[in-house]
């Protein structure tokens, strides 16, 4: 037990989580504040027979990770804002051709080079809309080092289970903070692996739903000799260019996420029956929120919190319900207001919605949330 207690940085927890999840491949390009993930995996992967490669840029890194996943390895890449922008085209291909992989973005202040060493939650909307065209997105945001370890494993599990890239959105605070983690026993970790085809190559269609909406996926070299393309394709994997195929594919890609909201959408709440003010947060900002709520409660204010661990898909139905019972929802974010837009869209004016927004590289302090609580109460 003792040697499972560790003081780890968030970035290091990604490394540990990836190893625990069975990752065997990392391709990446250094960037602050995500380089520690590359450095950690460069050291750790070969121990488990895994591979690390530093590519010439982030476009190549994203491509390389998709390739490795097609060869059958659980794969991960890590970057920060500028690199995340560069990965977008190939990330879109990954979503289109349904490649399990994990893409970590340790957010720093943007746009552009911005403030490279300061924390931000400015890439939340980019995680959903960064690549062209509609596309399915899963994005998770941990608020502590422990959660980083756990959600890294979850990210791999979702990637494999739903056959899609999963984005892990850290912020610089979580990425660089050192904190206690108790690593679980290997036996206690739930691991998902991609579904392999049950039929032989003759009867195999790489993009055919079998049970559920997620097609099984063989490794390259296993004799299935199938085709994959970023063009719209039918179940055979080949492009026919018909409008019907396009619609069917897009509908399935979306449905495989949306119809599994109960599994994918992770959040926690601490809301008592009579709480009227709800602070909804995610990532490092959550820490201030919890601190503020406990202070508020001590002061007799009826306030509670919601922590989003899954940011995308956004839990619209849940928030709709919250909107009905809450008087006000306060959303602290290290950006100019991104998730607050989703909240506004979904509560139909039922509750007041207030944002607390910092985008200057400093944190939102518990006090600032407390002040807002006091204001709206």
């Amino acid at each position: 037990m003792r040697d499972r207690i560790k003081l780890l940085q968030g970035d290091e927890a990604v490394v540990e989580g990836a190893i625990a999840a069975g990752a065997k491949f990392f391709a990446g390009y250094p960037i602050t504040p995500a380089s520690e993930i590359a450095e950690g995996l460069a050291e750790r992967l070969p121990i488990y027979g895994g591979k690390f490669i530093q590519m010439e840029d982030e476009l190549a890194s994203m491509a390389c990770v998709i390739g490795a996943s097609l060869s059958g390895l659980k794969s991960i890449t890590a970057t920060s804002g500028p690199g995340f922008s560069l990965k977008q085209e190939n990330l879109g291909l990954g979503m289109m051709i349904e490649i399990p992989c994990v893409v970590v973005n340790v957010q720093r202040v943007g746009p552009s080079t911005g403030l490279p060493t300061s924390p931000s939650q400015g890439d939340v909307m980019q995680a959903k809309w960064g690549t062209h065209g509609d596309h399915p997105v899963i994005a998770l945001a941990p608020s502590s080092v422990k959660e980083t370890f756990e959600l890294t494993i979850t990210a791999f599990n979702f990637a494999e289970r739903f056959r899609t890239p999963v984005i892990l959105l850290l912020d610089e605070i979580v990425g660089h903070m050192r904190e206690k983690v108790v690593l679980p026993n290997e036996e206690d970790i739930e691991i998902w692996n991609r579904k392999k085809p049950e039929v032989g190559p003759e009867d195999f269609n790489p993009y055919q739903e079998t049970d559920g909406l997620v097609p099984p996926m063989p490794n390259y070299g296993e004799g299935y000799r199938y085709h994959t393309t970023g063009l719209f394709h039918d179940k055979t994997g080949f492009p026919r260019g018909t409008n019907e195929d396009a619609k069917n594919l897009m509908d399935r890609l979306m449905a495989k996420i949306e119809s599994n909201m109960d599994i994918i959408s992770l959040y926690e709440e601490d809301i008592r029956d009579d709480d009227e003010i709800i602070v909804l947060a995610y990532g490092s900002t959550m820490r201030s929120a919890i601190n503020a709520i406990s202070q508020a409660r001590k002061a007799g204010i009826k306030a509670g919190w919601i922590k989003l661990k899954t940011i995308w898909p956004f839990p619209a139905d849940y928030i709709k319900e919250v909107g009905k019972r809450a008087k006000a929802i306060i959303i602290p974010e290290l950006n100019r207001g991104q998730i607050i837009k989703e909240v506004r869209e979904n509560i139909f004016g039922n509750a007041e919605v207030h944002g607390i927004n910092k985008y200057d590289g400093t944190l939102i302090k518990p006090e600032e949330i407390l002040n807002m609580i006091q204001e709206v109460k």
């Binding site: 121990i47 591979k51 491509a63 390389c64 097609l70 794969s75 070299g221 970023g230 063009l231």
Partner: protein, 273 residues
Amino acid sequence: MGYKIDEYLRQDKLPHIWCPGCGHGTIMGNLIRGIDKANLDPDKTVVVSGIGCSGRASGYMNFDTLHTTHGRAIAFATGIKLANPKLNVIVITGDGDGAAIGGNHLIHGARRNIDLTVVLMNNHIYGMTSGQFSPMTPTGDNATTTPYGNIDQNFDLAGLTKASGASFIARGTAYNTRQLIEIFAEGLLHTGFSFIEAISQCPVNYGRRNGLSSAVDMLKCQRDSSVNIRKWDSLSEEEKKGKFPTGVLYKEDKREYTEMYQEIIDSVQEEAK
């Protein structure tokens, strides 16, 4: 010649979408013959292509095949190969795909000397998007984006990949089909980064605009301007003008990337014991 090409082609996808007389079909056919000649296990062979007319080749070849994004095929292939070094990984790219947008991956793939076979179908033009110039369009030629003639220099891809660190470099033409098969087979069997420039013809978007209206004319032009490397050195500078050498231009025994990485794994795991 007895090449088993039928089973390496996805017959139900033919006829292919390439225009009449397009050199890409001939080159793909002879790549397949090269694969047969090299006796690769088709279940362990992966073809990765980019975007372009050339990029469509992957769809017709009966292996594990991946049609990627424009210019990035080598980066995808690097992941496939490093993740499973037992696979034979072939990249098919175009002169725009491989030398314009994909230039960085080409030189870095070569630098790593990772065991890929890269076939660049060079038709001196962007075929798929209907005739814009590429980094391989000769200076002075016509393309839709050079209404006043092309002022860009073109690359010498053999020189570029050599300078980058590739360990096998060859050039062939759609015209010289037998040489092409030899080159492909040799490149496929070479361990390390093999770069093969295959000169193709695009009658529709290049020939038409540059005084060569038929595929046949363009093939004759290939014939007249190519010289086997065995003869090349004996030519005078004067004789070399307007000509280019074909064949295996460079070959070297050099440490290969995935092998070196495996050594790391082996030694780290040994130590961990």
